[in-house]
């Protein structure tokens, strides 16, 4: 580095600048390596994420006499409300189930996640997606985690457009795609804070919870229709059929009716395994998630409705080029 006017008497400071820059690079490298190799090793959620992603990607198209490949996709509701072992048992050996449940995800996370899975060669015959109505119409994605762990690099611009990212958000998304640390920083922060303050996670959740409103956005039906059609077409283009289910909630699911109507209009099979108030308020650990004890009951209800659809013998839609 030279300058038009330069002071060459400050050699210690010059060395210090290089030393500081070297330290910055080392710190950045250290956290990146730790995120890539350390976090999956120490974080159970991340380990599960990778395991489930591998299994989902490995789902292959099967001939008619083989078990039907089923991808169980969703967010924490898929994880908490469905007792996976019981679910697999109840569907029986005719189905090969792989779950990919990522906490705090919504429609766009699943849409781009599915694109990535299909590109990776995953060929489920059924994509079973469950959440509340709000998750199906939400415009949000799971921040930097989405960019790094869910999004395919080729979808970066499409995802930026869909999330209405401005130039700053787009640059952050690009960095998150490249950097594992940036992608999982939220997990690291939570883990370190929980280590310092054991009840931090619940505390942070209570700080950031948004006030609920009974107002339903006016364009919600149009959005639900457009998004469900898009997802249905994506699945169909890869030889899969989309089936969605609506999760029970402690309070009335204000977007449930719109999603139900839209799914019917779009010809997407929709299941409502539990009628409103079928689960008492005490069955919920929070406004949307069932307690551990209630999950098996819900699982049975879901699998009872789902099994006939999966085994109906109907041929899946013929794959069309995406």
């Amino acid at each position: 580095m030279h300058s038009s006017t330069s002071n060459f008497e400050d050699a210690p400071a010059r060395r210090a600048i290089w030393f500081l820059l070297l330290l910055v690079v080392l710190v950045a490298l250290a956290v990146e390596l730790a995120a890539r190799f350390g976090v999956p090793f120490v974080n159970q959620n991340m380990r599960r994420f990778y395991d489930e992603l591998d299994r989902a990607a490995a789902l292959a198209a099967k001939p008619a006499n083989q078990p039907v490949p089923v991808l169980l996709l969703g967010n924490s509701l898929t994880f908490f409300d469905i007792d996976l072992r019981r679910f697999v048992e109840q569907l029986g050996p005719e189905c090969e189930v792989a779950r990919w449940a990522v906490d705090d995800t919504n429609y766009l996370d699943w849409y781009f996640g599915l694109r990535r899975l299909f590109r990776a060669g995953s060929r489920p015959r059924f994509v079973v997606l469950g959440a509340t109505g709000g998750h199906f119409v939400s415009p949000r994605v799971r921040g930097h985690f989405f960019a790094h762990y869910i999004l395919d690099r080729r979808d970066l611009f499409a995802a930026a457009a869909r999330t209405s990212a401005d130039a700053t958000s787009f640059s952050a998304m690009t960095l998150a795609k490249a950097s594992a640390f940036y992608g999982c920083r939220e997990e690291v922060y939570k883990r370190v804070m929980t280590w310092i303050l054991p009840r931090f996670e619940g505390f942070a959740r209570s700080l950031t919870q948004r006030p609920t409103s009974n107002r339903v956005a006016p364009d919600v039906s149009a959005r639900a229709r457009a998004q469900l059609s898009e997802l249905r077409d994506l699945c169909a283009a890869h030889g899969a059929q989309l089936i969605i289910w609506l999760a029970p909630t402690r309070e009335k699911d204000k977007y449930g009716a719109a999603v139900l109507a839209s799914a019917r209009e779009c010809g997407v099979p929709i299941l409502i395994p539990a009628a409103e108030h079928e689960f008492a308020r005490e069955s919920f650990r929070d406004p949307i998630h069932l307690k551990l004890a209630a999950a098996p009951v819900f699982t049975s209800l879901l699998s009872a409705q789902l099994r006939p659809l999966l085994l109906s013998g109907k041929e899946p839609p013929a794959p069309t080029p995406p």
């Binding site: 060395r15 600048i17 500081l20 370190v192 209570s206």
Partner: protein, 483 residues
């Protein structure tokens, strides 16, 4: 482009690397282009506003300096002031006045006719660059300085990206000469600049953004019904949020400028260690408080026309300072509180010492000093309640919580959370105060200069690691961007 985003550091690195390879005039061209790019990254449409007012002010100042006709000179000054304050008023206060008139008209049943018809987007940084432009034109008018020698230098003075959107408000006499002469690459200053950037990131991303989580949680009612402990927790959290936020921003701005060979004035000097309100305003947002002193308080008469007028001037200055922060009655009340506090303190003759150095030289005991600091801090916190609240009603609702002294066990974790993120900054401030340091740990030289630099680099690396790990996952925008 926000200072706490990765893209800013890519931008800053590229600009710095290119900058030191150019000759002086080309450096200025690069910086103006970079500054306009920086500003346009947010909203390119407002580039025309800034560019237009720069052009007009440059030519008006030149005319003022050239002319010897007092009437003409005054006319040019008035045109410039009307233009600058006109833009500020139109973009910042239009809705405020329409809303207020509508509210008053509503008492007489005429609200609908006056209902606001425009919702104007506030151009980022307009309050800051307007004040810089006004200071320049007024200084030229008073012949305190020569006008800028070239439009390029003046455009750089106004738009230089480190101070553009949230200050520190640079004085023409300080910054303009720097744009008009070659800058020297001084490795020591560049190193100090890097230190400032790292500490600024720590203040903003770790302290401010985490305190924001708690403050927002309390103010939004997420922790339950307001009571004494919650009001205190929320207010303390906001006090440290706004301090970390703005001082962090100022540090990054100063550090960025130093990488490019410029020097900016210090904007914060450990304000929560102030022992009186007047001391506070010598430590908090110094670039604004000195601007208000020189271009508002003194022209109003300052302390030259008796005690009553001095107190009136103090009060008016702070009131307008409050309104500068935002078009809301909450800011007016905040300014009025500080104005009244300053006036009353002066009336009572309560003017304790102003700095650690002076404190040390007097008999002001440690205990008294700390009691004064605590009292001033709590007065400041009272003001912050109005500053943070979205309406006057919300502020009073918040204050009513003070009457309910209920302690719940879950507040303990909130207190711990607050302590984790504020105590480190408090300790850093104590050190800066004790050693009167302008840059963090600059006087750490137990084993000679070279080792001191290295130790400071290690300290910076530790802070950076803390930023990477503890930066809040829901970053909040810089508070002063909205002003």
């Amino acid at each position: 482009m926000y200072f706490d985003t990765p893209v800013y550091f890519v931008f800053l690195t590229l600009i710095t690397l290119a900058y030191w390879r150019l000759q002086w005039r080309a450096q200025n061209v690069l910086l103006v282009a970079a500054s306009y790019f920086f500003y346009g990254w947010w909203n390119w449409r407002f580039l025309f506003l800034m560019g237009g007012s720069t052009l007009v002010d440059y030519f008006l100042a030149a005319q003022i300096a050239k002319s010897s006709d007092a009437r003409k000179r005054r006319l040019f000054l008035v045109v410039s002031l009307v233009m600058n304050f006109g833009f500020l008023g139109a973009f910042k206060y239009f809705n405020f006045f329409i809303d207020s008139f509508s509210h008053v008209a509503g008492w007489f049943g005429h609200a609908e006719r006056l209902a606001p018809v425009l919702r104007i987007v506030l151009p980022a940084g307009i309050s800051f660059y307007t004040f810089q432009a006004v200071a320049y034109i007024v200084d030229v008018y008073h012949r305190k300085m020569e006008p800028a020698r070239s439009l390029l230098d003046y455009a750089l003075f106004i738009s230089f990206f480190p101070h553009l959107v949230a200050g520190p408000i640079q004085r023409p006499a300080h910054l303009l000469p720097q744009t008009q002469s070659p800058r020297t690459f001084d490795a020591g200053r560049v190193f100090d600049g890097l230190m400032l950037i790292v500490t600024g990131l720590f203040r903003k991303c770790v302290v401010a953004d985490n305190c924001a989580l708690l403050a927002n949680g309390v103010f939004n009612g997420n922790l339950g019904e307001l009571n004494l402990p919650l009001v205190l927790l929320g207010t303390y959290a906001f006090a440290w949020q706004i301090y970390g936020d703005f001082s962090g921003y100022s540090d990054i701005a100063r550090g960025s400028a130093q990488l490019l060979g410029f020097h900016f004035m210090v904007n914060f000097r450990q304000p929560y260690l102030a022992t009186s309100l007047s001391d506070l305003w010598r430590r908090w947002h110094i670039s604004l408080s000195t601007w208000l002193r020189d271009y508002l308080y003194i022209p109003l008469g300052g302390n030259r026309h008796g005690e009553a007028n001095t107190q009136r001037n103090l009060f008016l200055t702070m009131l307008l300072g409050g309104l500068w922060h935002g078009a809301n009655w909450t800011f007016v009340i905040w300014g009025a509180l500080h104005g009244a506090g300053l006036a009353v303190a002066r009336w009572l003759g309560f003017q304790p010492e102003t700095s650690a150095r002076e404190n040390a030289a007097t008999s002001f005991s440690t205990l008294k000093r700390w009691l004064a600091r605590i009292a001033v801090f709590h007065f400041v916190c009272l003001g912050w309640i109005f500053f943070r609240a979205t309406s006057v009603n919300e502020a009073f609702r918040f204050l009513q919580g003070l009457a309910r002294p209920t302690w719940l066990p879950q507040y303990w974790i909130a207190l711990q959370f607050l302590a984790i993120f504020t105590v480190p900054l408090f300790l850093l401030d104590l050190r800066l105060e004790r050693f009167q340091e302008e840059y963090p740990f600059e006087k750490l030289k137990p084993f000679g200069g070279a080792l001191s630099y290295r130790r400071r680099a290690i300290f910076a690396a530790c802070l950076l690691l803390a930023v990477l790990i503890f930066a809040a996952t829901e970053p909040s925008a810089f508070i002063y961007f909205q002003f």
